[in-house]
Amino acid sequence: MMLMKYIDEYRDRDLIMKLAGRITASARHDYIFMEVCGGHTAAIHRFGIPALLPENIRLISGPGCPVCVTGTDFIDKTVAYSEMDDVIIATFGDLIRVPGSSSSLEKQKASGADIRIVFSALDALGIARTEKEKKVIFPGIGFETTAPGTAVTIRQALHERIENFFVLSAHKVMPPAMEAIVKEGTSINGFICPGHVAAVTGSSIFRFLPEKYGLGCVVTGFEPTDLLQAILMLIEQVNGKDPKVEIQYRRAVTAGGNPLAQKNIREVFVPSDAYWRGFGTIPASGLTPGRNYDRFDAEISMPVKVQYHEENEICICSEILRGLKNPCDCPLFADICSPENPVGACMVSGEGACSTWYRYKRER
């Protein structure tokens, strides 16, 4: 296999072991660090990071998986759209199997609905371009990493005067949810901050954490050495009682981020109240198309109403997303709820805590 630059160098076994040793030596107290990125959840368990750490360091997963934090009503709306004759749902693959209150896109597809998997919003726009008689709906999920792509696509649609392309937005921004976790009262000592969100937004969006709450932050990459170096940096911040925002992932992240990407978000989207599983509605935590672009908003152009359902009571996804419980604490884990038959979103999504635990760490 070809050498993957910017990946393989950061997986050097020697470096990893040395870093682990250095961490053990520096870990004088008890530490709890939370990561809020599905990619980090997956990487941490895939590379067996917890096994490399001493017992007094605990890593917990927060609401970093955009699929997991999206409410069932989003799936229900997408399902409702898929039942319309002239609608094509063009969606990212991770949404296909997420259970709604009575169906899922996968089940709808099996019943004959036109549902296609795309890897990019641009692909969805492409479908709209060719299938002029149909309405193409793109369910937009993802954080600040993904939202700019949707924004660029919407602008492209406006530019080409495409009338049959719509976005059902569940895009969200991270800081309000991080603040919600902290405000509830927390024993977290610091955050492993999402590296790819920060590549777009810049690391400055996390400043409120040390400034307002005295919590340390390190913006981290996704390779094992990245994670270990970040943990070391966090330990040093806690030891030195010096909380701040530091960038470990220097090769992709700066304080200011990518201004072009930010400009696209600002141009197309406005903040809206959004529902986060486990938190309720967090004001100004979502992104929906603003005034000049609201005809691309499926909720405005083709509103659909769905029945309100309370979330499944036994499923503890909400507590897992808040870092209060682990997947193994859930009575349904690896029993009724598995990747083949998921009950909650945490099990469906490739980055969900539950599905990650299932794949790498099935201890009960």
Partner: protein, 736 residues
Amino acid sequence: MGFRPFICRMAAKHGLAGYVENRTGGVSVVVQGDLKTIDRFSNDILQLAPPASQIKSIEINSVSIPGFDNFKIAGSKTHDDQVTEISPDIAVCPECLDDLENDPLRKDYPFVNCTNCGPRFTIIERLPYDRPRTTMKSFRMCPECKTQYNDILDRRFHAQPIACNSCGPVYTYKDHNKELKNIAEILHEVCAQVASGRSVAVKGMGGYHLMCDAFNNNAVSELRNKKQRDAKPFAVMFRDIKAVRSYCHIDENEEKELSSWRRPVVILRQKKPLASAVSDGLNTIGAILPYMPLHYMLFRELNTPAVVLTSGNLSDEPVIISDSEATRLLIPVADSILSYNRQILNRTDDSVVRFIDKKISIIRRSRGFVPRPVDLKFNVEGIIALGAEQKNSFCIGRGNQAVMSQYIGDLKNQPTFNFLVESIDRFTKLFRFKPRFIACDLHPDYLSTRHAEALMKELRVPLVRIQHHHAHIASCMAEHGIDEEVIGVSLDGTGYGTDGNTWGSEFLVADLMKFRRFAHFDYVALPGGDKAVEEPWRTAYSYIYRYYGDDFDYDSMPLFRIVEKRKLTMVREALVKNINAPLSSGAGRLFDAVSAILGLCIVSRFDSEAPMRLESAISDETDDFYPFNARGEIVFAETLKAVLKDMKKQTASVISAKFHNTIARVILEISKQVRKETSIGKVVLSGGVFQNKYLLEKTSYLLNHNRFSVYTNHLVPANDGGVSLGQLVTASKIVK
């Protein structure tokens, strides 16, 4: 307000030829030049626009038309630019304050202004906005001013109120034994008066103020007595933001608003005490910063860091704007009067705002806001809505905009009613408004209703009557562009219900056109009607009597031991025999009752005093709440029982917090019930009770936590001052 001159200056800066003109829906700028320069030009527009301008969006298109030699302001082609033409009044800008010190033409000129600041709405007679049509018409520009007025690069280019020490208005000071015309002497004398504990009547921008030292308790108390408004908190003007920070808790949003060009009064939590008579026991201060050049000049010499600056009026009447009336009515109250020789045409009170959940909540919408319209998503042309009774404002529809009037006041006396009629007249002329429909409150006796009926006959146009609480919900929906069914929670003291009863705790399933009453607090009898509102102990008695009857030891309650036995008997009689004890489901009344029970307010000396003191009492943090019954009518029997029990061991602070938490829980519970039935997830909170910061924050938190989206008023008041907007939008849906 200086936007077109600003564009001129920008065009000159970048060497672009073309023109700027007002069009319906915005300003049109045509420039000729290379793309890069035009790009820099439009960037500059965004970055450097005058503070009071509101750029909503910029669209750039290329057009083919013949070329230009220069840049000019084109004459207005249509009259539809009306609404955007009249700017709200703008506080004096830093550049003008600098001129006050350094500009030879305007050194110590107490009316210094420019295209970016100064009086606007208060002095305008008619459109278009030109000097001869403002009250500056009696002041002829001197040659120097004229030169600046015509110089495209001067900050005073086309500044209609431009003037200076030799040609502008002047201040005069008068007291019992002297009259002064020299500004330096005037300042000196006024400061001396304030320092010696006396009050001065000061002619402000939108009306007269009464001023005294905020640290001199005697001065403040005496002012209170003379104003005949015993207990209402006074607004306090602080020297600068540093002084505010010393005496009040203030966060960055509050600071930003306080210092903004609108310069409203911002309600802040008190940190250090002023004279006790200022807030009279409440833990908040209404703080305002200087906004007229005179204020700055006074504070140069005043020793005190803060003065009381309350409206110059006598109890419940509109603030005085006429100099003769001021001399007649205010001299008895104040010891001296400071006025100037330019007329105030459009009476405008200081605005009052508060921050709840980090967002602005307007309590009184006036100077700095009026007549900026509220943008709507649909057409409301030709509709005029007359509002309700308390804190009245009216609203006219122009295209897709709702133009709210300034704060009119409580429509309970002749002078306030006259002000309403006069303002409607003025707005009609100012905005060239042609009324096609009238909307008013359902209440048959409001003076606004009566006037609406008179207008209907006079103008021969249809009249629609909108239920009070529906209008509250609609006002909030209009602000947020919501045009679908919502869960509407409207809590206030009183509003006429469709069944002829007094409503005030309404849980509605509503859209902009109609509503269904889903739930409400149970009705309670108010012995003595309005008297019960003025004397909350009566309402307390009524609630207890309703839930306990005669099985209660009324003597055991300190509240009832204070009241005359004779009065208690009368009240009981009224309840038993149902004489002069009208029913009300007003949420405000429950707050009154609890406030009285806790001994915080037995007799109200001003509107909403009882609930304000109840909120002010909270200094503990707790999530506990009392039991309640919310199946069908919402009954507080268990709640009151628990409150009375708690009184034996808990402080008023804790009980008040738990009571507020209970109301928040009731709202959550009913919202859940509605959602279960209808799947509606949007909750709209409006009505005077939601000016209560603790309640609104707690309720929003609980609702958000339970997956509801919450909407509250930010552009117009949640109190009855916002009702006219709701009436307007509802009427527009009905008449279609």
